[in-house]
């Protein structure tokens, strides 16, 4: 049994792909946040990300692989873990010794994955259609308007907000836990836990703020 098929190997792979996605989330948030400050800066950054060949043809495929790998591995591990206890307990007091977040990563993960489907439908598929199928002329100033337009609907804003609550729940366990998985548990662990929990709340809250801001200012 090699490292890739061992329980620890899979756990480390899950952690590393999660850390990579956290890094992407921070980058995505930083760019989105500029839309609140300046439409021009947001347009410039979005145009760069949307047209730069390294971003488009190297980083984007890596990101898609990271997302797909993380959720497939998540489902595989969940399935295997369920099979490790065929006969379930009559009474199981999970809340007595572990947080809701840590016990329900698959649930929060499925909500986030569903949100990704909506997000792709909203932004990624139209973007791919614009650039590679219809091959429309480049317009460096269209991104801000497209973003604001999406948040006209209060239902979409509500769905986005709810999804980010689940992302926060997912990160509250997952981000800090990934350090333990790669072997970091030392005198800095308490600080790491606090920092990751602050990130897990602040970043999703920031995304919710951006959605509500554009809805109210449309």
């Amino acid at each position: 049994m090699g490292i890739t098929s061992s329980s620890i190997g899979r756990k480390v792979a899950m952690a590393l792909s999660g850390l990579f996605l956290v890094f992407f989330l921070l980058q995505h948030f930083t760019i989105n946040m500029t839309s609140v400050i300046s439409a021009e800066i947001f347009n410039q950054l979005s145009h760069f990300m949307g047209t730069n060949p390294v971003v488009q043809f190297v980083l984007q495929p890596v990101l898609i692989f990271g997302v797909v790998f993380h959720f497939i591995m998540g489902f595989v591990l969940e399935l295997k873990n369920n099979q490790s206890r065929s006969q379930k307990y009559g009474v199981y007091k999970g809340q007595a010794n572990a947080s809701w977040m840590s016990r329900n990563m698959i649930l929060s993960g499925i909500v986030v994955l569903s949100f990704l489907g909506l997000h792709f439908y909203d932004f990624w598929f139209p973007e791919m259609n614009y650039k590679y199928i219809e091959v429309l002329p480049e317009d460096p100033n269209r991104y801000y308007e497209e973003l604001v337009h999406k948040f006209h609907s209060p239902i979409r804003v509500a769905i986005y907000s709810l999804s980010f609550v689940f992302l926060a729940l997912h990160l509250l366990h997952g981000f800090g836990s990934s350090f333990q998985s790669v072997g970091v548990n030392n005198k800095y662990s308490a600080t790491i836990k606090k920092a990751t929990q602050a990130f897990a709340i602040a970043i999703p809250l920031g995304f919710v703020f951006i959605a509500i801001y554009h809805h109210l200012n449309a």
């Binding site: 490292i3 190997g9 756990k11 307990y89 009559g90 007595a96 016990r103 333990q180």
Partner: protein
């Protein structure tokens, strides 16, 4: 105290089990949980009912034999105790107590509340030892200087009694706390470093083959462990395993 006890009854490994409900009167709050089970068994035998099989040995929290999943928690509601150290004063008059065996596919039920934990023995045999020449000229372990914090950490890891509460309580039935404690107690000492690479690779391989689940860092094992084995050991095992895998 008068108690209602819902106890898992299962004649053998292959048969289907079910909960049976028994009433037990005049239970002393000073009894240990196992003493209460003894009294229940006396009552059952006087009624011509097969007594409940459950594991026990030292009855002082050292051997790791007693198990039982009591009201949804391994070793019951108290912390840092085994079932034999759990006292009936933790319950109230009129309580209903649900008693089940430790459940994991790697721990098949032998009968009633007794489970087969020999999977742990096989993990230990895969590498949880230090090979020593015992021909008569063995070096005194105390002759090797060991940093105090490493000695303390190794000792803490070695206090694991292999009861299986970590597996029983983990939602994934993962054995990583047990295996990591056994890896750590050697990895931290100079005597254990010689075989460190093979040890962690072989023990993790055996752990996976036994059918335990994957660790998802819920931390439930650490909370329910009667010896307070820390998650720090799992992080150490992960580091040891990654380093050993890179070495081949």
């Amino acid at each position: 105290m008068n108690l209602t006890l819902k106890v898992w009854r299962q004649p053998n490994t292959d048969s289907q089990g079910n909960f049976e409900t028994y009433q037990l009167a005049d239970v002393s709050p000073d009894m240990s949980f196992l003493e209460m089970m003894d009294v229940l068994n006396e009552q059952l035998m006087s009624q011509g009912i097969d007594p409940i099989a459950f594991d026990h040995d030292c009855r002082e929290g050292i051997c790791g034999m007693c198990s039982m999943f009591i009201n949804g928690e391994a070793h019951g509601p108290d912390r840092l105790v085994t079932t034999c150290q759990l006292h009936m004063r933790k319950f109230k008059d009129g309580d209903t107590i649900t008693i089940e065996p430790f459940r994991a596919n790697a721990f098949p039920v032998i009968k009633d509340l007794a489970v087969d934990r020999s999977a742990f023995d096989r993990v230990q045999q895969a590498g949880g030892f230090v090979s020593v020449n015992t021909s008569g000229n063995t070096q005194d372990a105390n002759a090797i200087p060991i940093e105090k914090k490493d000695a303390d950490r190794a000792f803490d890891a070695a206090t694991c009694i292999g009861c299986g509460a970590c597996v029983a309580t983990c939602k994934n039935a993962s054995a990583m706390l047990f295996v990591s404690a056994k890896v750590s107690q050697y990895a931290l000492l100079p005597q254990g470093k010689v075989e460190a690479t093979d040890r962690v690779l072989n023990m993790v391989k055996q752990m996976d083959e036994e059918g335990f689940g994957n660790c998802t860092n819920t931390g439930a094992c650490e909370v329910e462990c009667p010896k307070g084995i820390s998650l720090e050991n799992i992080a150490r095992m992960n580091r040891e395993y990654l380093a050993a895998s890179l070495k081949g």
